[in-house]
């Protein structure tokens, strides 16, 4: 088991390093000169040359990469070109706000999705199951940016229940003001993923419920509650862990969109800001941080899966 975790950790570190190369390469090799991107289309050739010298853009790319990567290892994420200050504290602050948003959503997705999925599976074919099915289709197929706009229209513009956009710091606005700004983004961010987890939990639960050992458990005369909790759930939830890891990725992606719509000052909006203003150091650093978080989420999911799956736990098949 320790070997399994170590191998996964090593793989994650490898992927992370490779991604620094990929991110650096994409930002520096794709057509669209860096200095030009920063200065815009009306830049004079001399201004471009001066900036290129200042940023060290005349060095060979591997040298530039090495400088950047070495600084990264020392915790120096570079300086934002637009804000003219070190990137690291800016990212950290935004990351904390995003973590609040994503954290609430993830708890909602995991608990809501699994509970609804189990409910749908045990009430198969009944009205609740069918209603959930229709809801899932809607929430999976309709993009979250459109749900965001509907939510703003409905709850902010028409009913005036909640603030449409923005963010209120906990210290200044108090718990209510802070929470009020979180309700709509968290709801939109979770809705599609709750549907997704619900649907997959339902199908994995149904598959387990049709298996022979469930038949055996029922034939023994075990009460249905015990059959569900002891025999069905542990096996049905195993695939759900993998799904939650995928959804952590979708959640990170959703954060970008939802933060943009709700003008929520988190990491996702910061990335979009960096792209709009061609702030490449900020973009690179933000991407690295998100890659690391995603790799960590996958690692945690792998380890949980390994811990809960007896075949891996006892080291027979360390796939």
């Amino acid at each position: 088991m320790v070997g399994f975790i170590l191998r996964r950790l090593l793989a994650a570190v490898g992927v992370l390093w490779a991604m620094t190369v990929v991110i650096f390469a994409i930002v520096h090799i794709l057509p669209g000169n860096v200095a030009y991107a920063i200065l815009g289309e009306y830049a004079t050739p001399s201004a471009i040359a001066a900036l290129e010298a200042k940023l060290g853009l005349n060095d060979p790319l591997p040298v530039q990469y090495w400088h950047w990567f070495r600084a990264l290892l020392h915790g120096d994420f570079g300086r934002s070109l637009v804000m003219e200050r070190p990137v690291a504290p800016v990212i950290l602050e935004a990351l904390q706000r995003s973590a609040v948003l994503a954290g609430f959503s993830f708890v909602l997705v995991a608990s809501g999705g699994i509970l609804l999925g189990i409910y749908a599976a045990t009430h198969r074919g009944q009205i609740a199951d069918r209603a959930l099915m229709v809801g899932q289709f809607l929430f999976i197929a309709v993009p979250d940016f459109f749900w965001s706009i509907l939510a703003i229209l409905l709850f902010a513009s028409w009913m005036n229940w909640l603030p449409a956009t923005g963010y209120a710091p906990l210290g200044e606005a108090g718990v209510l003001g802070w929470a009020a700004h979180l309700v709509l983004p968290v709801a939109v961010l979770s809705a599609g993923l709750v549907a997704h987890v619900c649907r997959l939990t339902r199908s994995s639960m149904l598959e387990v419920l049709e298996s022979r050992y469930i038949l055996a458990a029922r034939a023994k005369g075990l009460p249905e509650r015990l059959v569900l909790h002891r025999h069905a759930l542990p096996n049905a939830l195993l695939p759900t862990i993998t799904i939650l890891a995928i959804d952590a990725g979708l959640l990170i992606g959703g954060v970008v969109v939802v933060e943009t719509v709700f003008a929520y000052p988190g990491l996702g909006r910061l990335l979009v800001f960096a792209i709009e203003h061609h702030d490449l150091p900020l973009l690179q650093a933000g991407m690295i941080v998100l890659t690391a978080i995603y790799a960590l989420a996958n690692l945690v999911a792998d380890v949980c899966y390994g811990l809960l799956n007896p075949r891996i736990r006892h080291g027979r098949s360390a796939a």
Binding site: I140, G249, L250, I275
Partner: protein, 285 residues
Amino acid sequence: MSDAIAAVLTRRAPPPRAMLIGGAIVLALAILAMLGPWIAPYDPTAFAVRLRFSPPVAAHPFGTDEFGRDVFSRVLVGARFSFAMGFGATTISLLLGVPLGLLAAFHRGFVDEIIMRLLDLLISLPPILLGLLILAVTPPSLWKTIVTVGIVYVPILARLTRSVALGLLEEDFVTAAHARAEGAVSILLREILPNAWPPIIVECGLRITFAILLGSSLSFLGLGPQPPSSEWGLMISESREFISQAPWIGLAPGLSLGVLLVSINVFGEGLREWLDPRLAGRGHG
């Protein structure tokens, strides 16, 4: 390869009704999208300053926007972009992913390892972030968004093709082909590919929904077609400013996008159920 599909089609039960209904709506929308520029009652980019923010009326069924442009015409003309994204990007994933998957399966060992590890890199960022990263530096445009979405979903098709092909390579008819001294290309194209199609088609049906979702999200973030294009994601993004004043500007393209995506999804799920019942309930993103 059409023989293989025909064989699959004839041995199955009749297609589920939901799939036919979904398919019919998609087809109708596709025809509307193709005819869009010719049947649109107004020029989708023509300003009419005196008609700004007109609510839906008979002359403008979806109202007009902040420049007095007819929202109905814009939605109609914009439909093409969503179809281009969905089908264009999926075609790109298919053209890149299937050969990579076949190669990886056929050579195993070193080649397999290299291909799969490179593809792992593509999925080490969530789809929308990989899209942002690829599109961040260059000036945005429709075709770049399509190519990017296509690249983002290459690993999914490559992995699927690889796993299907690995199974088929064990079959007797492949051993027979080896015995006839058929080359690698011949075996892959004539023996493996024709038999690997059904699951790949099913995956593509579902991929189109996600391609449109991802493409319009990127476009919503400003990394797709640029104004005055009437791509739906962009239209919705631009409508935000006037959401309380003139909600129809965003609702019209949003609901159209919803109808399109739900119908493609219903069709894709039906296709999956029909061609491969064992796969039901898997996969997303």
